[in-house]
Symmetry: D2
Subunit: 290 residues, 4 copies
């Protein structure tokens, strides 16, 4: 089976060695290592993807707990095959802020079985969409203060506590810090961007495309990969065309109400159904990986 180990620490000394030792002692093969020294932020990070016998997964997890205790590193072990092994649905944390369309679409798709996952929690930096979570009987957890500033550590703590498999950013309006991205690296954070990547990466992609007088618009569902601009991690892209003379309001309305929800639901489905995987920072069709 495939397993993913992430480690985050304050410097780049002594990070790789204990993890690499443990992994090889368990007879696992290293398939991929990504390391990064974000020295300006004092975040040193590593993501290791390995192949090991399913019977050794528990040992791996225990070993990593030990390494974490000994070194003080923040370490996580996970596998995309866990839900199947544990005979359960993948657990999703749905992160939201103001716009209700995409979280509603994901919650409905889960309820109707189109996304074969569990809506374990709705996280938000604002109270606005608490009612949406309650409507579907999903616990709501506020991670923002009165000004909407999120407690990024609280987000990770909640996901850890609830054994979340995938974090879904459904028009969540804050940027995850690099440390959070690394902690859930390896294809576990799914974002919905309301423009076509890589052409329109900004905060206002509808406005930018409209300013270019484009007649085609789109949304992009992609994995968040730390330290990289999202160019190669696209899971799904949905598009629509409008007539000349269409107002920006109408463009945005069609995008937010129809296109974005469809884009995110299909993207989450592909991930939850294990149709796609992250492989050296690129999305690949799962069946194509050796």
């Amino acid at each position: 089976m495939q397993a993913v180990i992430t480690a985050v620490g304050p410097d780049h000394r002594g990070l790789a060695d204990p993890i690499v030792h443990s992994v090889t002692e368990l007879g696992a093969n290293i398939a991929e290592i990504q390391m990064y020294d974000r020295d300006d932020a004092h975040v040193f990070s590593m993501m290791t993807r390995i192949e090991l016998e399913p019977a050794r997964y528990a040992d791996l997890r225990d070993a990593m707990v030990d390494v974490s205790k000994e070194t003080g590193l923040s370490i996580r072990t996970w596998s995309p095959d866990l839900p199947k092994l544990e005979n359960r649905k993948p657990r999703l944390a749905i992160c939201v802020t103001y716009r209700p369309e995409t979280p509603l679409a994901v919650l409905r798709a889960i309820r109707d079985g189109r996304i074969r996952g569990e809506a374990t929690v709705v996280l938000s930096n604002r109270r606005k969409l608490q009612g949406v979570a309650e409507q579907f009987g999903v616990p709501f957890r506020l991670i923002g203060d009165d000004a909407g500033e999120p407690n990024d550590d609280a987000m990770i703590d909640i996901c850890d506590e609830l054994s979340i498999d995938y974090v879904v950013l459904a028009r969540y309006m804050r940027v995850l810090p690099a440390a959070s991205c690394w902690k859930y690296a390896g294809g576990r954070i799914i974002n919905l961007h309301h423009g076509l990547l890589p052409s329109f990466p900004g905060m206002r992609p509808y406005h930018e495309a409209y300013a270019s007088r484009m007649l085609a618009y789109g949304a992009t569902c992609h994995f968040i990969v730390p330290e990289l601009d999202a160019g190669n991690q696209i899971i799904n892209q949905s598009t629509y065309s409008v007539l000349p003379g269409t107002s920006l309001d109408e463009v945005v309305r069609r995008g937010q109400e129809d296109n974005e929800p469809d884009c995110l639901v299909e993207g989450v489905r592909r991930v939850v159904d294990n149709e796609v995987r992250l492989h050296f920072n690129r999305v690949v069709a799962a069946h194509s990986v050796g």
Copy 2:
């Protein structure tokens, strides 16, 4: 009615004055003037859009012939309202090179009445698609030499001789020189670009989008506007999405066989049906122009 006058000459002296004089003497109002001094190519150009009484259109044309004779400038007079006034369909010159899909789609749409125009001529710098023209009974005119180098002046001469209203570039593989663009300026040259503008303007837009691992592709039908990158002159954009793992060949096949033809046919229809106009280098819905 609206009329468009284009003038091209070897320098910028004495170009504007005689045209402006004639226009104002006829009681017309100047709605738009675009001038450009492409000094490195010794091409000086002007496009004038005016409003005048339909009864004076013939006088305008005669006056411009006189100005042309006196000054040696290359001058053309035209109106998008001409076909209606002359109780005829708009005349189209379809320019092609190798790919048959988009010209075939336009010829079929004309035959079936979906594009209410006349396929007056098929122009090409290569003989390859001569059979496509013959299949629809449309005259074929070769404007290229043995190496496929086009005679750009011959293209314009043929369009002049046949009183062409619109030049349709259906995957025509050569760049029109600035002088040709100016001679048929004012919204008369329609191009099909096989990528989404303005994001993918290059010669190989499928390859470039694929290299970015995009999952959405598109085509753009736009007016050619001299001296400007095509950013604001979009008439129609069509898109399609593919699954992760789709091969480039399959992406290109779907684009060339399905998406590009649909994009161009709808774009030409919008122009021929006077649904869109070029207004200060931007496409506007015709009903929105005062």
Copy 3:
């Protein structure tokens, strides 16, 4: 001599004709016309560059005053040859906000005769640099409210009232509205951008170049041209290189204290000395224009 006429009005009807009539009646030749319909802002604009006998310049100015009265259009007449004809130095309005380095450099260069112009007024949306103006005995005019919001019409009124030839934006931190750009179109508004154009057009060019780990930085002095991104209107560019490991603070310090002032002073000098002109939206060496 060359003269420039600018006209701004609320719609595109009836703008061009009266100006064109007057110009041709005076025996002038039209060298360039730029028109633009910024319909979304209800600003219709025209810039006309003409050649006429110096003896007729006063008549032209009077005629334009008449047209303005009759039509309600906002019309201005100007010539880069005026200071010479009137045996005076070009009058400069120096627009500033917070940073003192570039205005100080321009004021010193004027005092020392390196820029052969007159510092007629210092305009600002903030009071901060009032002392700089006073230090050089130049009148200071505040055009901002308590929040620093500028009164754009007041800026133009002051420039009109003082017969300003050139408006110098010396790290003036507000964007001029399109109407102001048109009113002083034709190569009269000189801006200092603190990054290399066209590569770094944003608000924080030092930060953006630094984020790319560049080791070369620069500033750009350019004419402001309405409706166009500043790509072709570069008057002067100055650059400097730094060693690997140089801090952003040090990069910015060298740029602001040394490079930007040098760049702007030389740029203003080239304009004031008539070494460069704006010709069809591009800067050309003055001697190269026919």
Copy 4:
């Protein structure tokens, strides 16, 4: 001391484990691992940077030879500290094609002691600059066929055979394949690009900047890093400014004859003098690395 191990193989199985085992058995600490699966080219690659006792370097080299024999992987061991340890100058391979200015400048700087390295060999895919090598008494090796197509494996074989420390691409006109870049990864391949990166990455940076009517030009000396566009690996950038109206020929002449040679010589000097290092794909000042 710091050591760099690179490994290239045909797939991603079994690549990392034997190297990681050997390294940790030698008591070395892993400082950085970069892995990449260029699956479309069947090139799997790894670069490992480690810290180990200088006394163990010979053991490391032997161990890697053994791993290479057992696994069939192409493995190289190197250290930027080797020349000092072996009491010799760094050995440079200077790769050239047509333009003589930059190789001449490097050869002169080596002769004059400004670059404290040894010009071990001049490599070229063309014979044109053979005389330049001979003039400085440096062996010349042709790696191109009659059409100038380079034998990329021959280039690597020669560098291996001559124990080259640094490969200097002095306007070498061919793109190194990914496998070559990986084999000499870790800050050993120095390129001179004749434009400012990242703004002008193309084949004709002078022409592109000139088409934007820029008045500042530059060159960039940078490490080649496989799989990444060169954005963060800049070692040196040199710039110059020109007056409006300067011809493209003059711009290119000043760049090729003065600016590019200065840029490359100073860049090579910084590397050879160990002033800069590559650290997680970014250039850092050597003293700043912990």
